[in-house]
Homo-oligomer: 304 residues x 2
């Protein structure tokens, strides 16, 4: 089943205790799409400049990602760089050059408009809403956001998420959006804003799925070594949404617990792989067998 | 089966965003013993002053805890007070009056010496070792420690844990003791120091059990409201060790995965109850039915 993925396609510079890469393929849309492509037919919606390299486009094409919706315009591709602390729990942004991304105003190609699923990466909520409005037969949609939009464009964000079936944000964002520190209370407040299903990511500790009737805790995988956490949350989103799209779920509100819990674990699996190499390195080479093996490991270290 | 619990019996003053209690029963030995008493025959080893109130002794007696090993000496009982931050993730110690605890030098009553199990709360490692030496037929023993001893008495601590079958410490302590930030690596280093089984507590995020052949992640219970986290880690220890003692496990190295995983969940269950009221309030009223109900909730929100 087709899944629209909307967000940033970028070049990233990343420094971690394991090394430094000056410039490599990145962006939320890239990570989400690559992770989701393991499960579903992904239709990417993004924008890049003239400097976007054929080999990077090739990575996306090799994963069967539909690039009809990737605009190429004069100018430079979005560039971000950041450095992680020694324990990798803190990240400092060094550069944010929006470049062509500043004028991103996504229009869905006609073949994209009938896609049943969409995931909106972290971009301006007005753009997320605008794309949602172009979908002709949505089954369900969801997305991510960040502190910047919660603080700066709260009303627009509230308008946008009213129409979302699920939202996938981290614990700090959930607290900021809801005004409640306790995660169960925060999830209730956010549920009242529109999304039936609320997924709260907790970094290395995993993620929690909240639905009106209960919750499910997915632990984080304990890696022997974390190379680069950039994109782990987006890879989680890709695994979660990709798996649900693969299953052809009609409606997330009525999806079975079994499906949603599996989606959470596939999300965690994809997030864990993402950290094993710099940038999209691990997502490039990953295959479904490796994913299923790690899924089984999750079963093994959680069952009692 | 009898379980020795060694540690501090104290009076605590606690301030959280939910209120303030000037003086109430506390101490690691108290929390561990009350939690473990739900499962096993607990023999307490501790020291109190003349101010130790009969009603507080009554709480312990009501839980069937053997107080033969509770010394009462002239002077005042250990007093500690602390205040929690708004989100309760940080705690500031306001007072530490060791009082009679400064001269604690535990001697096991003769009826205690044949107990098969022991858990050593966070006290000077030399005292932990000294008590271990008085046990005549230990099946397995384990304990806790803290940054203060890891930094100040590292060699004595290393000597002490050489003889432990398991150690139960938090993530910061595991990193400090092992010199490794990554938890899997840290657990390996600590395993090499002696303990076959390493349990690393991660506060609200739960705990991880490491054994040479693999690991198990127990998530933290998501409470709707955390009243007072004091004693949660000790209650975890009591639930974990109490359950293993109840099962009459011969040897923790050879204990089944099923038993150890259940012990982890009972630990988490006891830690979660502890936070629901100030001090030992919730542990006082708790019954086994409530424990089993919450155990089932853990199954419900983790299975997939």
């Amino acid at each position: 089943m087709s899944l629209l993925v909307v967000g940033s396609v970028a070049y990233d510079g990343v420094e971690t205790p394991h090394g430094k890469v000056e410039r490599m393929l990145g962006g939320s849309c890239t990570y989400i799409s690559l992770a989701a492509s393991q499960f579903a037919d992904v239709k990417l919606v993004g924008i890049v400049g003239e400097d976007f390299a054929p080999e990077d486009e090739g990575i996306l094409v090799d994963h069967g990602i539909d690039l009809t919706g990737l605009e190429k315009v004069p100018g430079k591709t979005f560039f971000w760089s950041g450095a992680y602390s020694q324990n990798m729990n803190e990240r400092t942004t060094l550069t944010t050059d929006l470049n062509v991304f500043a004028d991103f105003n996504p229009n869905l190609p006609s073949l994209y408009q009938s896609a049943p699923y969409a995931f909106f990466g972290n971009i301006h909520p007005a753009l997320q809403k605008q794309v949602r409005g172009q979908m002709k037969a949505p089954r369900f949609v969801g997305g991510d956001t960040m502190n910047f939009w919660i603080e700066g464009t709260r009303e627009e964000l509230r308008e946008t998420i009213k129409d979302w079936d699920f939202i996938l944000i981290n614990d700090e964002e959930a607290r900021l959006l809801s005004g409640d520190y306790n995660l169960r209370q925060a999830a209730k407040r956010i549920h009242e804003m529109g999304p039936h299903t609320v997924v709260i990511k907790r970094g290395e500790y995993g993620a929690v799925l909240f639905r009106p009737e209960g919750y499910f805790i997915a632990p984080g995988f304990l890696l022997e070594s974390v190379f680069d956490p950039t994109g782990a949350g987006d890879s989680f989103a890709g695994g979660f949404m990709g798996y649900l799209a693969e299953q052809g779920i009609e409606n997330i509100d009525q999806a079975s617990h079994a499906h949603l819990r599996k989606a959470m674990i596939y999300g965690s699996v994809m997030g864990s792989f993402c950290c094993e190499q710099f940038g999209v390195g691990r997502l490039r080479t990953l295959n479904r067998d490796e994913i299923e093996t790690r899924y089984k490991e999750f079963k093994e270290f959680t069952k009692f």
